[in-house]
Protein backbone atom coordinates (compact mmCIF):
# COMPACT_ATOMS: atom_id res chain seq x y z
CA UNK A 1 0.00 0.00 0.00
CA UNK A 2 2.21 2.77 -1.29
CA UNK A 3 -0.65 5.29 -0.88
CA UNK A 4 -0.16 5.27 2.87
CA UNK A 5 3.05 7.23 2.67
CA UNK A 6 2.18 9.21 -0.43
CA UNK A 7 2.63 12.89 -1.17
CA UNK A 8 0.07 14.24 1.36
CA UNK A 9 1.78 12.35 4.15
CA UNK A 10 5.22 13.75 3.32
CA UNK A 11 3.93 17.29 2.83
CA UNK A 12 2.38 17.30 6.30
CA UNK A 13 5.37 15.49 7.77
CA UNK A 14 7.67 18.21 6.36
CA UNK A 15 5.44 21.01 7.66
CA UNK A 16 5.26 19.50 11.14
CA UNK A 17 9.02 18.94 11.18
CA UNK A 18 9.73 22.56 10.23
CA UNK A 19 7.11 23.85 12.68
CA UNK A 20 8.50 21.56 15.37
CA UNK A 21 12.06 22.81 14.86
CA UNK A 22 10.82 26.41 14.91
CA UNK A 23 8.88 25.76 18.11
CA UNK A 24 12.00 24.22 19.68
CA UNK A 25 14.13 27.20 18.65
CA UNK A 26 11.69 29.95 19.61
CA UNK A 27 9.75 28.46 22.51
CA UNK A 28 12.14 25.91 23.94
CA UNK A 29 12.01 22.11 24.26
CA UNK A 30 9.35 22.17 27.01
CA UNK A 31 6.83 23.61 24.57
CA UNK A 32 7.66 20.92 22.01
CA UNK A 33 7.20 18.28 24.68
CA UNK A 34 3.87 19.77 25.78
CA UNK A 35 2.66 19.90 22.16
CA UNK A 36 3.66 16.29 21.47
CA UNK A 37 2.07 15.06 24.72
CA UNK A 38 -1.11 16.95 23.84
CA UNK A 39 -1.09 15.30 20.44
CA UNK A 40 -0.63 11.84 21.93
CA UNK A 41 -3.75 12.40 24.06
CA UNK A 42 -5.55 13.61 20.98
CA UNK A 43 -4.57 10.51 19.00
CA UNK A 44 -5.66 8.15 21.77
CA UNK A 45 -8.96 9.99 21.69
CA UNK A 46 -9.20 9.99 17.90
CA UNK A 47 -8.16 6.47 16.92
CA UNK A 48 -11.28 4.59 18.13
CA UNK A 49 -13.49 7.32 16.63
CA UNK A 50 -11.77 7.56 13.27
CA UNK A 51 -11.57 3.79 12.88
CA UNK A 52 -15.29 3.56 13.61
CA UNK A 53 -16.06 6.47 11.25
CA UNK A 54 -14.15 4.89 8.41
CA UNK A 55 -15.76 1.48 8.95
CA UNK A 56 -19.11 3.26 8.72
CA UNK A 57 -18.03 4.93 5.49
CA UNK A 58 -16.88 1.60 4.04
CA UNK A 59 -20.06 -0.22 5.08
CA UNK A 60 -22.36 2.53 3.77
CA UNK A 61 -20.76 2.11 0.36
CA UNK A 62 -21.69 -1.57 0.20
CA UNK A 63 -25.13 -1.18 1.78
CA UNK A 64 -26.06 1.86 -0.35
CA UNK A 65 -24.18 1.64 -3.65
CA UNK A 66 -24.17 4.85 -5.78
CA UNK A 67 -26.35 3.24 -8.50
CA UNK A 68 -29.13 2.72 -5.97
CA UNK A 69 -28.74 6.26 -4.72
CA UNK A 70 -28.99 7.66 -8.27
CA UNK A 71 -32.40 6.01 -8.74
CA UNK A 72 -33.83 7.85 -5.73
CA UNK A 73 -33.24 11.33 -7.06
CA UNK A 74 -33.93 10.47 -10.70
CA UNK A 75 -36.43 12.83 -12.24
CA UNK A 76 -37.79 13.88 -8.87
CA UNK A 77 -38.75 17.52 -8.66
CA UNK A 78 -40.49 20.11 -6.52
CA UNK A 79 -39.78 20.70 -2.88
CA UNK A 80 -39.73 16.97 -2.28
CA UNK A 81 -36.97 16.62 -4.89
CA UNK A 82 -34.86 19.17 -3.04
CA UNK A 83 -35.39 17.34 0.24
CA UNK A 84 -34.51 13.95 -1.24
CA UNK A 85 -31.44 15.39 -2.98
CA UNK A 86 -30.33 16.90 0.34
CA UNK A 87 -30.67 13.61 2.22
CA UNK A 88 -28.99 11.61 -0.54
CA UNK A 89 -26.18 14.18 -0.85
CA UNK A 90 -25.51 14.07 2.87
CA UNK A 91 -25.36 10.26 2.71
CA UNK A 92 -23.00 10.09 -0.28
CA UNK A 93 -19.62 8.94 0.97
CA UNK A 94 -16.23 9.76 -0.47
CA UNK A 95 -14.59 12.80 -1.98
CA UNK A 96 -15.38 14.75 -5.16
CA UNK A 97 -14.26 11.75 -7.22
CA UNK A 98 -17.34 9.87 -5.99
CA UNK A 99 -19.83 12.69 -5.76
CA UNK A 100 -19.36 14.47 -9.09
CA UNK A 101 -19.83 11.35 -11.22
CA UNK A 102 -23.08 10.89 -9.28
CA UNK A 103 -24.09 14.48 -10.08
CA UNK A 104 -23.52 13.80 -13.77
CA UNK A 105 -25.53 10.59 -13.48
CA UNK A 106 -28.39 12.49 -11.81
CA UNK A 107 -28.33 15.09 -14.55
CA UNK A 108 -28.51 12.43 -17.24
CA UNK A 109 -31.34 10.65 -15.50
CA UNK A 110 -33.28 13.88 -15.62
CA UNK A 111 -32.79 15.37 -12.16
CA UNK A 112 -33.89 18.95 -11.82
CA UNK A 113 -31.06 21.48 -11.59
CA UNK A 114 -32.11 22.73 -8.19
CA UNK A 115 -31.85 19.16 -6.94
CA UNK A 116 -28.30 18.92 -8.28
CA UNK A 117 -27.29 22.05 -6.40
CA UNK A 118 -29.03 20.82 -3.23
CA UNK A 119 -27.19 17.52 -3.62
CA UNK A 120 -23.72 19.10 -3.99
CA UNK A 121 -24.36 21.56 -1.16
CA UNK A 122 -25.54 18.80 1.17
CA UNK A 123 -22.64 16.52 0.29
CA UNK A 124 -20.06 19.24 0.91
CA UNK A 125 -21.70 20.95 3.86
CA UNK A 126 -23.36 18.23 5.95
CA UNK A 127 -21.79 15.08 4.47
CA UNK A 128 -22.34 12.21 6.88
CA UNK A 129 -18.93 10.68 6.23
CA UNK A 130 -17.08 13.91 6.95
CA UNK A 131 -19.25 14.40 10.02
CA UNK A 132 -18.41 10.96 11.42
CA UNK A 133 -14.72 10.91 10.53
CA UNK A 134 -13.74 14.50 11.22
CA UNK A 135 -16.32 16.71 12.80
CA UNK A 136 -17.66 14.59 15.65
CA UNK A 137 -14.24 13.37 16.88
CA UNK A 138 -12.29 16.60 16.36
CA UNK A 139 -14.81 19.25 17.38
CA UNK A 140 -16.75 17.18 19.90
CA UNK A 141 -20.49 16.33 19.96
CA UNK A 142 -21.60 19.73 21.23
CA UNK A 143 -19.97 21.92 18.58
CA UNK A 144 -20.89 19.36 15.92
CA UNK A 145 -24.54 19.55 16.99
CA UNK A 146 -24.49 23.37 17.00
CA UNK A 147 -23.13 23.35 13.48
CA UNK A 148 -25.68 20.88 12.15
CA UNK A 149 -28.47 22.94 13.73
CA UNK A 150 -27.06 26.04 12.03
CA UNK A 151 -26.71 24.70 8.50
CA UNK A 152 -28.89 21.61 7.91
CA UNK A 153 -31.54 23.58 5.99
CA UNK A 154 -29.12 25.35 3.66
CA UNK A 155 -28.93 22.78 0.83
CA UNK A 156 -32.69 23.18 0.24
CA UNK A 157 -32.29 26.98 0.17
CA UNK A 158 -29.37 26.81 -2.30
CA UNK A 159 -31.33 24.41 -4.52
CA UNK A 160 -34.36 26.68 -4.44
CA UNK A 161 -32.29 29.75 -5.38
CA UNK A 162 -30.49 27.82 -8.15
CA UNK A 163 -33.84 26.83 -9.61
CA UNK A 164 -34.84 30.49 -9.84
CA UNK A 165 -31.64 31.56 -11.59
CA UNK A 166 -31.91 31.83 -15.34
CA UNK A 167 -28.31 31.32 -16.43
CA UNK A 168 -28.69 27.59 -16.93
CA UNK A 169 -29.10 26.18 -20.41
CA UNK A 170 -25.61 25.04 -21.33
CA UNK A 171 -25.05 21.29 -21.56
CA UNK A 172 -22.45 19.94 -19.15
CA UNK A 173 -19.26 19.11 -21.09
CA UNK A 174 -19.22 15.60 -19.67
CA UNK A 175 -22.56 14.91 -21.30
CA UNK A 176 -21.92 16.31 -24.76
CA UNK A 177 -20.26 13.15 -26.04
CA UNK A 178 -23.32 11.10 -25.24
CA UNK A 179 -25.79 13.04 -27.36
Amino acid sequence: MSEIFGVPFWVFAAISLVAGVLTWQLRGPETVEAAVMGDIDLFLFLVPRMLGGMLIAGLVQVVLPPEVVAKWVGAESGFRGLLIATVVGALTPGGPMTSFPIVVAFYMSGADRGALVAYITAWSLIGFQRFMIWELPLLGPEIALYRVLSVFWMPVLAGYIARRLTIWTATPPSEEGTR
Binding site: A35, F45, P48, G58, L116, L139, S174
Partner: protein, 177 residues
Amino acid sequence: MKMPGFDISLVIIWTLVAVLAVLAWRRGEGRLQRGLRRGFEMFLVNGPRVVVALLAAGFLSYFLPKDLIAEWLGHESGWQGILIGSVVGPFFPGGPLVIFPVLVALLKAGAGLPSVFAFLTSASVWGVHRIIMFEIPMMGPRFAAARMIASLALPPLSGFMAIIVIRLLGAPAGFNP
Protein backbone atom coordinates in the same frame (compact mmCIF):
# COMPACT_ATOMS: atom_id res chain seq x y z
CA MET B 1 -6.40 16.12 30.36
CA LYS B 2 -9.12 14.20 28.57
CA MET B 3 -8.27 10.56 28.18
CA PRO B 4 -9.68 8.47 25.34
CA GLY B 5 -12.90 9.26 27.15
CA PHE B 6 -16.00 7.19 26.72
CA ASP B 7 -18.57 9.66 25.53
CA ILE B 8 -21.68 9.92 23.43
CA SER B 9 -19.80 10.30 20.13
CA LEU B 10 -18.02 6.97 20.65
CA VAL B 11 -21.33 5.25 21.46
CA ILE B 12 -23.05 6.70 18.37
CA ILE B 13 -20.17 5.76 16.09
CA TRP B 14 -19.86 2.13 17.17
CA THR B 15 -23.62 1.61 17.33
CA LEU B 16 -23.77 2.71 13.69
CA VAL B 17 -20.88 0.38 12.82
CA ALA B 18 -22.82 -2.50 14.39
CA VAL B 19 -26.13 -1.62 12.66
CA LEU B 20 -24.47 -1.25 9.24
CA ALA B 21 -22.46 -4.45 9.74
CA VAL B 22 -25.68 -6.36 10.40
CA LEU B 23 -27.34 -4.80 7.33
CA ALA B 24 -24.34 -5.64 5.14
CA TRP B 25 -24.16 -9.17 6.53
CA ARG B 26 -27.88 -9.80 5.93
CA ARG B 27 -27.58 -8.68 2.31
CA GLY B 28 -24.77 -11.17 1.83
CA GLU B 29 -22.56 -11.58 -1.23
CA GLY B 30 -19.45 -10.73 0.76
CA ARG B 31 -20.74 -7.20 1.42
CA LEU B 32 -19.71 -7.26 5.04
CA GLN B 33 -16.12 -8.24 4.23
CA ARG B 34 -15.89 -5.72 1.38
CA GLY B 35 -17.25 -2.88 3.49
CA LEU B 36 -15.00 -3.64 6.44
CA ARG B 37 -11.96 -3.96 4.17
CA ARG B 38 -12.75 -0.59 2.55
CA GLY B 39 -13.08 0.99 5.96
CA PHE B 40 -9.78 -0.45 7.20
CA GLU B 41 -8.01 0.62 4.02
CA MET B 42 -9.33 4.16 4.44
CA PHE B 43 -8.11 4.12 8.01
CA LEU B 44 -4.65 2.85 7.01
CA VAL B 45 -4.32 5.46 4.26
CA ASN B 46 -5.70 8.40 6.26
CA GLY B 47 -4.46 7.53 9.73
CA PRO B 48 -0.77 8.44 9.23
CA ARG B 49 -1.76 11.61 7.34
CA VAL B 50 -4.01 12.71 10.15
CA VAL B 51 -1.24 12.11 12.69
CA VAL B 52 1.22 14.37 10.85
CA ALA B 53 -1.47 16.94 9.95
CA LEU B 54 -2.51 17.31 13.58
CA LEU B 55 1.10 17.42 14.69
CA ALA B 56 1.68 20.29 12.26
CA ALA B 57 -1.51 22.04 13.43
CA GLY B 58 -0.45 21.61 17.06
CA PHE B 59 2.93 23.27 16.48
CA LEU B 60 1.53 25.99 14.23
CA SER B 61 -1.05 26.95 16.84
CA TYR B 62 1.85 28.28 18.94
CA PHE B 63 2.67 30.72 16.17
CA LEU B 64 -0.84 31.92 15.48
CA PRO B 65 -1.25 35.45 16.79
CA LYS B 66 -3.74 34.59 19.55
CA ASP B 67 -4.64 38.17 20.41
CA LEU B 68 -5.37 38.99 16.81
CA ILE B 69 -7.40 35.82 16.29
CA ALA B 70 -9.42 36.40 19.43
CA GLU B 71 -10.01 40.01 18.41
CA TRP B 72 -10.79 39.35 14.73
CA LEU B 73 -12.46 35.93 14.91
CA GLY B 74 -13.53 35.63 18.56
CA HIS B 75 -17.17 35.33 19.54
CA GLU B 76 -17.33 39.07 20.20
CA SER B 77 -16.04 39.90 16.71
CA GLY B 78 -19.58 39.71 15.33
CA TRP B 79 -20.09 40.28 11.62
CA GLN B 80 -16.41 41.11 11.07
CA GLY B 81 -15.26 37.64 12.13
CA ILE B 82 -18.05 36.10 10.04
CA LEU B 83 -16.96 38.10 7.01
CA ILE B 84 -13.29 37.14 7.44
CA GLY B 85 -14.17 33.46 7.86
CA SER B 86 -16.39 33.57 4.77
CA VAL B 87 -13.73 35.19 2.58
CA VAL B 88 -10.77 33.06 3.70
CA GLY B 89 -12.48 29.63 3.56
CA PRO B 90 -12.48 28.90 -0.19
CA PHE B 91 -8.71 29.21 -0.47
CA PHE B 92 -7.85 26.28 1.78
CA PRO B 93 -7.15 23.35 -0.54
CA GLY B 94 -6.99 19.70 0.42
CA GLY B 95 -10.41 18.91 1.86
CA PRO B 96 -11.16 17.92 5.47
CA LEU B 97 -7.57 16.79 6.06
CA VAL B 98 -6.48 20.43 5.94
CA ILE B 99 -9.67 22.20 7.04
CA PHE B 100 -10.28 20.38 10.32
CA PRO B 101 -6.77 20.69 11.78
CA VAL B 102 -6.95 24.40 10.87
CA LEU B 103 -10.32 24.65 12.66
CA VAL B 104 -8.90 22.98 15.76
CA ALA B 105 -5.94 25.37 15.77
CA LEU B 106 -8.26 28.38 15.32
CA LEU B 107 -10.58 27.28 18.12
CA LYS B 108 -7.59 26.68 20.40
CA ALA B 109 -6.38 30.19 19.60
CA GLY B 110 -9.70 31.71 20.64
CA ALA B 111 -11.77 31.92 17.46
CA GLY B 112 -15.53 31.89 18.03
CA LEU B 113 -18.13 29.55 16.55
CA PRO B 114 -19.75 32.16 14.26
CA SER B 115 -16.55 32.85 12.33
CA VAL B 116 -15.50 29.19 12.43
CA PHE B 117 -18.89 28.03 11.04
CA ALA B 118 -18.73 30.71 8.32
CA PHE B 119 -15.22 29.52 7.46
CA LEU B 120 -16.24 25.85 7.31
CA THR B 121 -19.29 26.61 5.15
CA SER B 122 -17.36 28.74 2.67
CA ALA B 123 -14.56 26.16 2.51
CA SER B 124 -17.22 23.51 1.82
CA VAL B 125 -19.50 25.14 -0.72
CA TRP B 126 -16.98 27.47 -2.37
CA GLY B 127 -13.81 25.33 -2.23
CA VAL B 128 -11.85 26.72 -5.18
CA HIS B 129 -9.74 23.66 -5.97
CA ARG B 130 -12.77 21.38 -6.12
CA ILE B 131 -14.61 23.78 -8.40
CA ILE B 132 -11.64 24.01 -10.76
CA MET B 133 -10.70 20.33 -10.68
CA PHE B 134 -14.13 18.68 -10.73
CA GLU B 135 -17.12 20.93 -11.08
CA ILE B 136 -16.13 23.02 -14.11
CA PRO B 137 -14.69 20.08 -16.09
CA MET B 138 -17.64 17.80 -15.33
CA MET B 139 -20.64 20.12 -15.12
CA GLY B 140 -19.50 23.16 -17.06
CA PRO B 141 -18.77 26.77 -16.02
CA ARG B 142 -22.42 27.84 -16.14
CA PHE B 143 -23.54 25.22 -13.70
CA ALA B 144 -20.62 26.06 -11.42
CA ALA B 145 -21.37 29.78 -11.62
CA ALA B 146 -25.06 29.28 -10.87
CA ARG B 147 -24.30 27.00 -7.94
CA MET B 148 -21.80 29.49 -6.54
CA ILE B 149 -24.32 32.32 -6.82
CA ALA B 150 -26.99 30.15 -5.20
CA SER B 151 -24.68 29.46 -2.25
CA LEU B 152 -23.24 32.97 -1.97
CA ALA B 153 -25.15 33.83 1.20
CA LEU B 154 -24.60 30.51 2.97
CA PRO B 155 -21.25 31.25 4.70
CA PRO B 156 -22.38 34.49 6.42
CA LEU B 157 -25.77 32.89 7.16
CA SER B 158 -23.95 30.03 8.93
CA GLY B 159 -22.19 32.58 11.12
CA PHE B 160 -25.43 34.34 12.03
CA MET B 161 -27.14 31.01 12.66
CA ALA B 162 -24.32 30.15 15.07
CA ILE B 163 -25.10 33.35 17.01
CA ILE B 164 -28.80 32.42 17.11
CA VAL B 165 -28.16 28.80 18.16
CA ILE B 166 -25.77 29.95 20.90
CA ARG B 167 -28.39 32.42 22.10
CA LEU B 168 -31.02 29.67 22.21
CA LEU B 169 -28.94 26.84 23.70
CA GLY B 170 -26.22 28.71 25.57
CA ALA B 171 -22.51 28.66 24.75
CA PRO B 172 -21.05 25.18 24.27
CA ALA B 173 -19.04 24.01 27.27
CA GLY B 174 -15.83 24.00 25.28
CA PHE B 175 -14.49 21.88 22.56
CA ASN B 176 -13.32 18.33 22.64
CA PRO B 177 -10.74 17.17 23.45
